[in-house]
């Protein structure tokens, strides 16, 4: 499948799922979802999809924003504010969404997870005081929401903020000694835990342009070894994006994406966010410049220093 076909196919599938008046569900025929909508905006924009549908969907996201700037899984669960970062990405470069994006940025900069000083009885190894972002209010900071938070704030022009710098340190602190990341624990009771491709991909995008390559070399190596085995859209999409953020593009990417798309016969139709990740990963692997959050680099800025 060439890039043009992928764009046409991706765009057509997403349009078929779009809700009247904008916005996207998790699956065909279901209700509006914030995260699915944000990912669809990013994928549609990268595929050159309908500007009108993108705009309507951005407006739909704005209607979901709470007064303090957050966007939640749904309004009945205001604690689940992890989609806020995705909305910041989806609103990028939209004049009509600028104020909403600024409020979401402010929320993110003023919010953090639950942090506590390490005591001798804490069996995990990471620095529990370093602040990133949690999935859900009043819980600990974890790798993926933090990595996506960094991506969002970098994209929105806040890559120099102290919160971003601390979040970068947090993600580095959670890197597994043998390479890669999982959800966010490195050792528990003295044992190093297993890495996961999706967490590793997200962390690598967050750190791209913020740290020297040598600090993530083992993780890149892990992901390059792993990517050929991946068959599912979340793992493969994040992995291709994470590698592309560091200029690594597996030669087998197209075949992997085609196999993954074909696997819908086995797993059923992919959930919208997962499908969007796969589309974006496929485009990134072909060095396509339409994936917005991959092209932000701040490493050469003298004010930043993130050596471990």
């Amino acid at each position: 499948m060439d890039l043009s076909s992928l764009r046409t196919h991706g765009s057509a599938v997403l349009v078929s799922r779009a809700l009247s008046g904008g916005g996207f569900p998790g699956r065909f025929g279901e209700r509006f979802q914030v995260d699915s909508t944000a990912w669809s905006i990013l994928a549609l924009a990268a595929c050159g999809g309908s500007a009108e549908l993108i705009d309507q969907s951005r407006q739909a996201l704005m209607r979901e924003q709470l007064p303090d700037g957050r966007l939640c899984v749904n309004r009945t669960h205001p604690a689940s504010y992890w989609p806020t970062s995705l909305a910041i990405l989806a609103w990028q470069d939209s004049e009509s969404c600028r104020e909403a994006q600024q409020r979401a940025v402010r929320f993110l900069l003023e919010t953090t997870g639950f942090h506590f000083p390490r005591t001798s009885d804490v069996p995990s190894a990471h620095d529990t005081l370093l602040k990133g972002w949690p999935w859900v209010d009043d819980t600990h900071s974890w790798v993926e929401p933090t990595a996506i938070g960094i991506m969002a704030l970098k994209t929105a022009g806040h890559g120099h903020h102290d919160r971003v710098k601390e979040a970068v340190r947090m993600v580095l602190d959670r890197q597994l000694p043998h390479g890669g990341w999982n959800y966010g624990n490195t050792h528990v009771f003295g044992k190093e835990l297993h890495p996961m491709p999706e967490s590793t991909g997200a962390a690598l995008i967050g750190l791209a342009g913020m740290v020297e390559e040598r600090t993530v070399a083992r993780s890149l190596e892990y992901l390059e070894d792993e990517v050929g085995r991946l068959r599912t859209p979340i793992s493969l999409g994040w992995s291709l994006l994470g590698l592309a953020a560091w200029g690594r593009r597996p030669s087998s990417a197209t075949a992997l994406v085609e196999r993954c798309l074909a696997n819908q016969d086995r797993y059923g139709e992919y959930e919208t966010s997962a499908l969007c990740l796969l589309i974006l990963g496929a485009l990134a692997a072909e060095n396509d410049k339409s994936v917005p959050f991959l092209s932000i680099s701040m490493y050469h800025d003298k004010r930043l220093s993130f050596s471990r």
């Binding site: 998790g26 689940s80 974890w142 044992k191 297993h194 068959r231 979340i234 959930e271």
Partner: protein, 341 residues
């Protein structure tokens, strides 16, 4: 006459006598406070079935059918029902298939329920560690089995939720959000793996239900539940959801640093029953663990179900005939002092 005598007796009490009586009352009252709540509950009864199963190539459907029959699960009860099987899929590692419920145990359960006339059997899980549920589904080998058997798999992490008041009220969570899918099923079957656990001592059919809580509301690794307290969250989920049946895969379980980093342990059993605390208590005894030392089980006793050996009617194999100590780690607090005497 009696009244006058009582009056005189009261008149005869000194100030010291009254103070002594108050002090004695306080001592007794305080003593009652530290007696576990289970001693004040009415005893409950349950049945569990234990089968010896040496390996996964045996006729697991037949064994589970026999167990269900022994436990009084009849065709009349299952006919036309929609059955949801909830395995334990956490994450995968090439050298550690013993992390997850074995796919062939799922296949056996599917067949056993279909033989009893179930309208549909589905499998659903929301892994606590990995965001890519399909990857765990694939890499655990379950996708091969369910695809071949044409059984639907549901990813519970990304599903829309509905709220129920927290019946257990052991944590401060006012409500619990369950997958909407559960509104369309008749039976929820917890299909756990027999494992030691570094936070709770043992993870069995009750703890397995952490995986029904959607990640989109509870995060990864379901940190809302960890923060609320793991043991109490287990109780709240079970008290609110009221699952119908449990099957624990102990053919090859996990000992030591479970639920992920432990070593395989051949216990060679399948354990099942309608009451989850009773099933888990039986599993603990098989593993050489005292269920009264596992906090959530001790709290569940005679509330969500019995855990006393005398309160659980044992069908199939005796516990003694299959008992095999699972290795516990001295440096892990949740595993300290829980060995069955």
């Amino acid at each position: 006459m009696d009244t006058q005598a009582n009056h005189r007796a009261t008149e005869g009490l000194t100030r010291r006598d009254i103070l002594k009586a108050v002090a004695a009352g306080l001592v007794i009252g305080t003593g009652l406070l530290v007696v576990p709540k289970r001693y004040f509950r009415l005893p409950q009864q349950a049945q569990t079935f234990v089968a010896k199963v040496d390996h996964y190539q045996l006729d697991i459907a037949g064994i589970l059918s026999l167990g269900m029959q022994e436990l009084g699960v009849t065709k009349a009860e299952i006919q036309g029902k929609r059955i949801l099987l909830k395995p334990n899929l956490v994450e995968t590692a090439s050298e550690a298939p013993h992390i997850n419920t074995h796919p062939l145990v799922l296949r056996g359960a599917i067949e056993a329920f279909l033989r009893l006339g179930a309208a549909t059997v589905m499998v659903a899980e929301g892994p606590g560690h990995r965001r890519d549920t399909l990857a765990v589904y694939e890499e655990s080998g379950l996708a091969d089995v369910l695809t071949e058997d044409r059984i639907k798999f549901h990813d519970l992490n990304y599903i829309t939720g509905y709220e129920l008041p927290n019946v257990g009220a052991k944590t401060t969570m006012k409500t619990l959000t369950f997958p909407t899918l559960f509104q369309d099923v008749d039976w929820i079957v917890s299909m756990a793996k027999m494992k030691t656990h570094h936070w709770t001592g043992a993870t069995l059919s009750m703890k397995n239900l952490f995986g029904v809580m959607p990640g989109r509301y509870y995060g990864w690794p379901k940190n809302v539940l960890h923060k609320a307290g793991i043991q109490n969250s287990i109780l709240d989920i079970n008290a609110t959801l009221k699952p119908h049946f449990a099957i624990v895969d102990g053919i090859i379980g996990m000992e030591g640093d479970g639920p992920i980093m432990g070593d395989p342990k051949q216990a060679g059993v399948l354990v099942m029953g309608r009451n989850l605390p009773a099933v888990d208590a039986t599993c603990c005894r098989i593993m050489g663990i005292d269920p009264y030392k596992v906090s959530y089980l001790e709290q569940a006793d005679n509330w969500l179900g019995p855990i006393g050996e005398k309160s659980i009617e044992q069908r199939g194999e005796t516990i003694v005939s299959v008992q095999t100590d699972f290795r516990l780690i001295d440096t892990i607090p949740a595993q300290q002092g829980i060995r069955l005497a």
